[in-house]
Symmetry: C2
Subunit: 430 residues, 2 copies
């Protein structure tokens, strides 16, 4: 097993250049750990002329990623193009069909087409690895699929999008509004020019879909993830959260009960003392709860050239060593057919903020509606007095069904004295 592992890399953006850099800078150490050298033999990207900070002139170049995936010479195809469809998907399919192992950092591809691709890889007897697709440099896929494999996992929860966490952290630290902080984040390069994939929760949902499949041993199902982003979080909610002993975080949460599997991405109120409440800025973190191990927390950089390349190369080392694991932790035949639960089946505590006209009787009307839906209040806060003007009213509930909460909210929103669309944020134990 001392012949080098030959690798083709498609996509030479930040991460692709990072992978080439890691393989070059740590070549000797990687060869020792992999049992043989790992050598990039061919590459491809759209623009051949661009300076990427790493020399690619000695490598075979392919403009077409599908041609690169099919070309003989490499045992592994590394897909760093991105996107759930188009050239990334076509190239990965071509590589598997050609009998090559595939390593990808593409969360969208795996979340949307992972079940089908895993099936293809299993049939061809090749590896489909994607450590870099979730939480960047944190080896969370290895932890879930191998390190904690003795456990029945009950719940996985995480801060899976560094852009959202950066924005929420900055809003919390400086008391600023979402739009201002987003503009800053875009200027600093922490948010894309079109930030919707991040701030609308889609990126986190891709990652959660993958974690959910691994945690509970079933094929990935992106459409089963409920997704809300952070556009609706205001500085006022962040202030109230602090007052109530919480921090607001965008979490991805997957849990299993007798009824089925819940998977959801939305802003959460998390107790200030919880591990996830204290993960700030661009960092990611994942909490895994197993029946024997209890709670394990993993934290680190979820994006960037170095951390992502670290994960890609770890997958390459596994392949070089011949360490193989079924894509979803067990062979297709052993995967569980557990039903996915809709968000309306969720039950939990809620934070509800209303802007109401400050006049007698409004609170009575609101609380009567909640009572009629059998929603039990935990606390009520009203700040400021401005007779006849709008003031914020905050209510928190005990455990309530999402269905009842939504029905009540619709009625509350219809009250004359309720001025804006109410803000609803779910409260999570941790």
């Amino acid at each position: 097993m001392t012949h080098p592992l030959a690798v083709a890399v498609a996509g030479l953006g930040t991460v692709g250049a990072g992978v080439l850099t890691v393989l070059r800078d740590n070549a000797e150490l990687i060869a020792a750990r992999a049992g043989r050298p790992i050598v990039v033999t061919a590459v491809g990207a759209r623009d051949r002329g661009r300076d990427r900070g790493v020399p690619v002139s000695g490598l075979r170049w392919y403009d077409d990623p599908v041609a690169l995936a099919r070309a003989s010479g490499a045992e592994v195809f590394v897909e760093l193009i991105g996107g759930s469809d188009g050239p990334a998907r076509a190239a990965v399919q071509a590589a598997i069909e050609a009998g090559k192992h595939v390593v990808t950092a593409n969360k969208a591809l795996i979340a949307v087409h992972g079940a089908e691709l895993a099936h293809m890889a299993e049939e061809r007897g090749v590896t489909l690895a994607f450590e870099a697709a979730v939480a960047g440099g944190i080896p969370v896929i290895k932890a879930l699929r191998e390190g904690l494999a003795a456990n029945r996992v009950r719940r996985v929860a995480g801060i899976l999008n560094g852009t959202c966490n950066y924005i929420l952290t900055a809003m919390t630290e400086h008391g600023r509004e979402f739009g201002d902080v987003l503009a800053d984040a875009q200027r600093l390069g922490y948010a894309e020019a079109d930030p919707s994939f991040d701030i609308d929760g889609v990126d986190a949902a891709h990652k959660l879909a993958i974690l959910c499949a691994l945690a509970f041993g079933r094929p990935v199902e992106f459409d089963a993830v409920h997704v809300d982003g952070i556009r609706g979080v205001s500085a006022l909610d962040i202030t109230f959260a602090r007052e109530l002993g919480y921090r607001i975080k965008l979490l991805g949460i997957a849990s299993q009960s007798e009824r089925g599997i819940e998977a959801r991405v939305h802003p959460c109120m998390v107790p200030a003392a919880a591990s996830l409440a204290r993960v700030d800025g661009v960092f990611n973190a994942v909490v895994i709860e197993g029946d024997f191990v209890g709670q394990v927390v993993l934290q680190g950089r979820g994006a960037g050239a170095g951390p992502t390349a670290s994960a890609v190369v770890a997958d390459l080392i596994d392949i070089a060593r011949g360490r193989a694991t079924p894509v979803w932790g067990a062979a297709s035949g052993s995967l569980a057919a557990v039903p996915s639960l809709p968000m309306t089946a969720h039950s939990g505590a809620y934070y509800l903020r209303l802007m109401v006209v400050d006049r007698p009787g409004v609170i009575a009307d609101v609380t009567a509606i909640l009572r009629d839906h059998r929603i039990s209040l935990e606390s009520m806060l009203q700040r400021g007095r401005a007779p006849g003007e709008a003031v914020p009213v905050v209510l928190t509930t005990h455990d309530t069904g999402e269905g009842a909460m939504r029905a009540a909210l619709e009625q509350v929103a219809g009250l004359d004295a309720v001025l804006e669309s109410p803000t609803l944020i779910r409260i999570e134990p941790a």
Copy 2:
């Protein structure tokens, strides 16, 4: 690969019974993840009659662990006896000689004899796995050896002993003295009747020696670890730490520089905002710093039947799947011969607490000694006034060589006005 993996388990204490329980309760799930059932076929312990909460009557029983290790029928020998020498070592050697894979939770054995045992295992082509030996249920060995294998690791630091962390946390939260809290911990079962292995830092040093070998790719060397325990930490130091913005934690720290490798276990002042400062009670945590991934933090339960069994069974699943990794991350021939540095080569910031007679000129005498050793002060605190009586004086330094610090300390301790042996606690960046 569908024949069951047959396992022999030596030692049926808390962890041994835990392993049997995990393999029984999660048998189906483990078989799916391992690709085949994992079945315990033989066991051994000192007392056959004891009730362990799991049935062992159907299993072959061996009073002698070496006989169990040699007996035909099992492919894997699980050593849960404990102790660096005696029956544990003899049985592991016998199992390797008999061509069996070995899984152990025995940190003392691996720290002291791991280099020799790894060599034997490599010669026989068998696995020697010990995920459970460090940080219990946290998959830190897998993270270091596989998940972060693309990185040159610069530093590993961790809270590696739950008993010490429980004691320091209780001292911090309740302002109590070491002896009182230790007595409570013993009553609650968090500390042994003879607690010296834990509180003198030996247990943490065993674990650090293992992490150090994995992080830097060299054979394990327990004697190279500097060890101080927590007996000398007083409630007064914890109060001063808080005032200075620190928490006191017993850390194991291994780092590599051009000069060599430093490995040390001692009480540290850690900035209150650092990840490790916020890991409280019996939890363990490890921070790994890699050149590409940056800082990764792993946190979880470091002891107990469930977490430790979770790690043991993860190793068994790796063996069942045929996933193999050289014991120290690379084959013996590729391990680095990096020198170990003595503690006197250390350089860092220091906290120094003196009990001095409250009279004019004492501080001048102390600071003159520090100046003569070219030690630069960062801060000085004197609390309380009691002319002619003992008062505490706290000094913190900028980066200083350990050699200079020790020499200065000896002179300071010799001053008439200095009443007790000075307390020295190293300040760590994180």
